[in-house]
C-alpha cells in the first residue's frame, strides 16, 4: 500500500472535516466532497497493490487489481454525487428563505440561553435591589 495514498486520505479527510464544521452550507458541501474523495481513496487503498485491469481471460488473477473495492468506490461516488445535489438544493432553499445559507442556531439552545439570560438578569436585579435597600437603610443607631 502506498504511503502517498494514505497521506492523501488523511489530508483530504482533515480538510473535509474542517469545512464540515463551518456554518455555511456551501462550505459543508465542499467539505463533504473532499471527505467523499478521502473515503474513495481509502477504499482503493483497501484493495491492495495496483495491478492490470481485471478482465477475465485477458489478465491473470495474480497480477490484476482487486475489482471489488473499485466497484464499491464507483457506487459510493454515484451516491455522494446525488447527495451533493440534494445539499445544494437545500442551501438554495435556505438562501431563498433567509438570504444566506448559514445553519441557524438550534431553537432549543436559543430558548435555554434566553431563559438563562432572563434568570441572570432577574438575579442581578434582585441583588441590586437588596444593595439599594441596604444603602438606604442607613447606619444603625445604638440607643
Amino acid at each position: 500500500m502506498s504511503g502517498a495514498l494514505i497521506f492523501a486520505v488523511a489530508g483530504l479527510a482533515a480538510i473535509g472535516t474542517y469545512l464540515i464544521t463551518s456554518r455555511s452550507l456551501s462550505r459543508i458541501v465542499l467539505g463533504f466532497s473532499l471527505f467523499g474523495h478521502a473515503t474513495v481513496l481509502a477504499l482503493l487503498a483497501a484493495g491492495g497493490p495496483a495491478g492490470n485491469a481485471p478482465i477475465a481471460d485477458q489478465t491473470s488473477v495474480a497480477d490484476s487489481a482487486d475489482p471489488l473495492p473499485q466497484a464499491l468506490a464507483l457506487t459510493a461516488i454515484v451516491i455522494s454525487f446525488g447527495l451533493t445535489l440534494f445539499l445544494l438544493a437545500l442551501a438554495r432553499r435556505q438562501h431563498q428563505l433567509t438570504g444566506d445559507d448559514l445553519v441557524e442556531d438550534d431553537l432549543e439552545d436559543r430558548r435555554i440561553a434566553a431563559d438563562a439570560d432572563a434568570a441572570d438578569a432577574r438575579e442581578a436585579a434582585e441583588r441590586k435591589a437588596a444593595e439599594l435597600a441596604e444603602a438606604t437603610r442607613g447606619p444603625e443607631v445604638w440607643t
Partner: protein, 496 residues
C-alpha cells in the same frame, strides 16, 4: 420461496415508480401505494412462515458466490423485525390517506411514492447479507427521509433538515470509511465471512472495527452522545412522516447494530455499550421531562427507549439479546401509534403544545383512550407488551450481574410514566379549551377523521396482539438470539 426476498425489495421500488407517474391522480396513487404495501406485508408473512418451518433462507442474487455477489439472508430475527416494520408502515399509510382528504393534509403527490422507496430501503437493510449493500440500503432510507422531512420547504423544516442531513451524511461517510477498514483487514464485506474472520483478527484491529461501527450505527440509532439531531428534526415533519421515522429509522440502526456486534463477537465491548445504554436512557427521559410539546416529549422518549434495546445488546447473553429483540418489536408499533395520536390531537386543536391544549378528554373521550393504552404500554405497565419486554431485560440484567443498569432502567421507567402522565394531565385533563383557529373546520374532515381513528385503533389492536402473544414472541426472540450468539447457524446458512 427465496424469490420472495427479492420481490420485497423490488416491489415497493416498482410501486414507487408507478406512483411518481400517477403523482397527480390521488386515487390511483393511493390505491397503488396501499396495494404495494399490503402485498409486501403479505410477502413478508409468507417468508416468516417459511423461515419458521424450514430455517434460515438465503438468496444469492444473480447466482454469484456469496463473497463476490450480494446475498439476502432471512433468519428469524430478520423476519420478525421485517413483518412488524411493514405492518407499521401499512397502518401509517392508511392514516395518511385519511389525513390527505382534509384541507390541512393536502400534500404533494410525491409523499406516498417516497414512502414506498423508504419501505424498499427498510426491507433491503433488514435482509441484506453484506455490509456494502447495507450502506446502499441506508442511503435509500436516508435519501427518502431527507425528502420526506424537507419537501414542504417550511423554514423550521429546512432548519432542522439541515442538521439532520449533515449529521446523517457524516455517519454515512464514516460508514464507508469503516467499510474500507474492514475490507483492508479481512478482504470481504460479506457479513457471514466477517463473522468468521473478524474474531481471528488481532485484538486492537478488532476493537477498532467494533468501536468504529458502534459510532456509525450509534448515530443512526440515536445513541448517547450522538442523539441530539433526533428530537430536533422529528417533530417538525408532518405527523405521518414523524410516525414512520420514530417507529422505524432509529430502530433499523439498532437492528443492524445488534446483528453486526453479535455476529462479529464483540463481547468485550459489552461494558461500553451498557454505559452508553444507561446514559441514553437517562438523557432521553430527562430531556422529555423538560419539554412541553407532545411531539417533542415523544421524540425524546424515542431516544430514551433506544437505551433499553442497547442494554439488552450490551449484556451479550441470550436472555439480554432476546429481550432487546422483543423490545424492538414492541417499540416500533407503540411509538408509531403515540405519534399518530399526537397528530390527531394536533389536527383537533391546531397545536400539540401542552400549554394551549387542555381538557380534551371531555370533548374526545375516544382519543383519550387511544392515547392512554399505548402510553401505559410505553411506560411498561402490566399486562401490556412494554411490561413483558422490560421484565425480560431486567431479568437478563440480574442474570448478567449488571445491577447498575437494572437500577437505572427501573428508575427511567418511573420517569417515563411521569412524563406520560404529564401529557395526560396537560392534554386530556382540566378545563376544556376551544381549538385554535388553524384547526380543521372543513366538512370533509368527518370521513377522514373516521379513517385516521380506525387506522390508529387498528394499530393499537396490533400492539395488544403483541402483548397477547408475548410468550410465543419471546420464544422466537430467544431462538433468534441463540442463533446470533452461536454465529455458526448464520455462517453455515450463507456458506453451506
Amino acid at each position: 420461496m427465496t424469490t420472495i426476498m427479492s420481490l420485497l425489495i423490488i416491489g415497493p421500488l416498482f410501486g414507487a415508480g408507478i406512483g411518481v407517474g400517477a403523482a397527480n391522480k390521488a386515487a390511483i396513487r393511493d390505491s397503488i401505494t396501499l396495494l404495494t404495501l399490503i402485498a409486501t406485508a403479505a410477502g413478508a408473512a409468507v417468508l416468516a412462515v417459511d423461515v419458521a418451518r424450514n430455517g434460515t433462507q438465503v438468496l444469492r442474487v444473480g447466482g454469484w458466490r456469496p463473497d463476490l455477489g450480494i446475498v439476502l439472508v432471512a433468519d428469524i430475527f430478520a423476519v420478525l423485525v421485517l413483518l412488524v416494520a411493514l405492518c407499521t408502515i401499512l397502518v401509517v399509510e392508511l392514516f395518511a390517506i385519511g389525513q390527505r382528504k382534509t384541507l390541512a393534509g393536502v400534500d404533494p403527490g410525491i409523499v406516498s411514492p417516497i414512502l414506498l422507496v423508504l419501505t424498499g430501503g427498510v426491507c433491503l437493510s433488514i435482509l441484506t447479507g453484506d455490509l456494502f449493500t447495507l450502506f446502499v440500503a441506508f442511503e435509500l432510507i436516508l435519501v427518502s427521509s431527507y425528502v420526506l422531512l424537507t419537501h414542504q420547504g417550511h423554514r423550521s423544516q429546512i432548519h432542522s433538515g439541515m442538521t439532520y442531513v449533515v449529521i446523517n451524511l457524516l455517519a454515512s461517510t464514516l460508514f464507508l470509511f469503516g467499510l474500507a477498514f474492514v475490507y483492508a483487514a479481512t478482504g470481504t464485506v460479506n457479513i457471514a465471512l466477517l463473522a468468521e474472520r473478524i474474531p481471528e483478527l488481532a485484538d486492537s484491529t478488532r476493537y477498532g472495527i467494533g468501536l468504529w461501527f458502534l459510532v456509525v450505527f450509534g448515530t443512526k440509532a440515536a445513541m448517547f452522545p450522538l442523539f441530539s439531531w433526533l428530537p430536533d428534526s422529528y417533530p417538525t415533519a408532518p405527523t405521518t412522516i414523524t410516525a414512520v421515522f420514530a417507529g422505524l429509522l432509529s430502530k433499523i440502526g439498532v437492528y443492524v447494530m445488534i446483528r453486526f456486534q453479535v455476529l462479529t463477537g464483540m463481547n468485550e465491548l459489552g461494558t461500553i455499550i451498557l454505559v452508553l445504554a444507561g446514559a441514553t436512557m437517562v438523557v432521553g427521559v430527562v430531556g422529555a421531562l423538560a419539554q412541553d410539546d407532545v411531539k417533542r416529549i415523544l421524540s425524546f422518549h424515542v431516544v430514551s427507549q433506544i437505551g433499553y434495546m442497547l442494554m439488552g445488546l450490551g449484556l451479550f447473553s441470550v436472555a439480554g439479546i432476546a429481550g432487546a429483540i422483543l423490545f424492538l418489536i414492541h417499540h416500533m408499533p407503540v411509538k408509531t401509534v403515540l405519534f399518530l395520536v399526537g397528530g390527531l390531537i394536533e389536527d383537533d386543536q391546531g397545536t400539540s403544545s401542552l400549554k394551549r391544549v387542555s381538557g380534551l378528554a371531555a370533548r374526545r373521550p375516544y382519543l383519550a383512550v387511544l392515547f392512554a393504552v399505548p402510553a401505559m404500554n410505553l411506560a411498561g405497565l402490566p399486562p401490556l407488551s412494554g411490561f413483558v419486554a422490560k421484565l425480560s431485560l431486567v431479568d437478563a440484567g440480574i442474570d448478567g450481574q449488571s445491577i447498575a443498569i437494572v437500577v437505572v432502567s427501573l428508575v427511567v421507567s418511573v420517569f417515563t410514566l411521569l412524563s406520560m402522565s404529564k401529557i395526560w394531565l396537560g392534554v386530556f385533563w382540566g378545563t376544556p379549551t376551544e381549538p385554535d383557529a388553524t384547526a380543521l373546520a372543513d366538512p370533509t374532515s368527518v370521513a377522514s377523521r373516521r379513517m385516521m381513528l380506525s387506522a390508529t385503533t387498528l394499530a393499537i389492536i396490533g400492539t395488544l396482539g403483541i402483548a397477547l402473544f408475548a410468550g410465543t414472541l419471546y420464544d422466537l426472540s430467544e431462538q433468534a438470539a441463540t442463533d446470533l450468539l452461536l454465529r455458526t447457524p448464520y455462517i453455515e446458512a450463507v456458506w453451506p
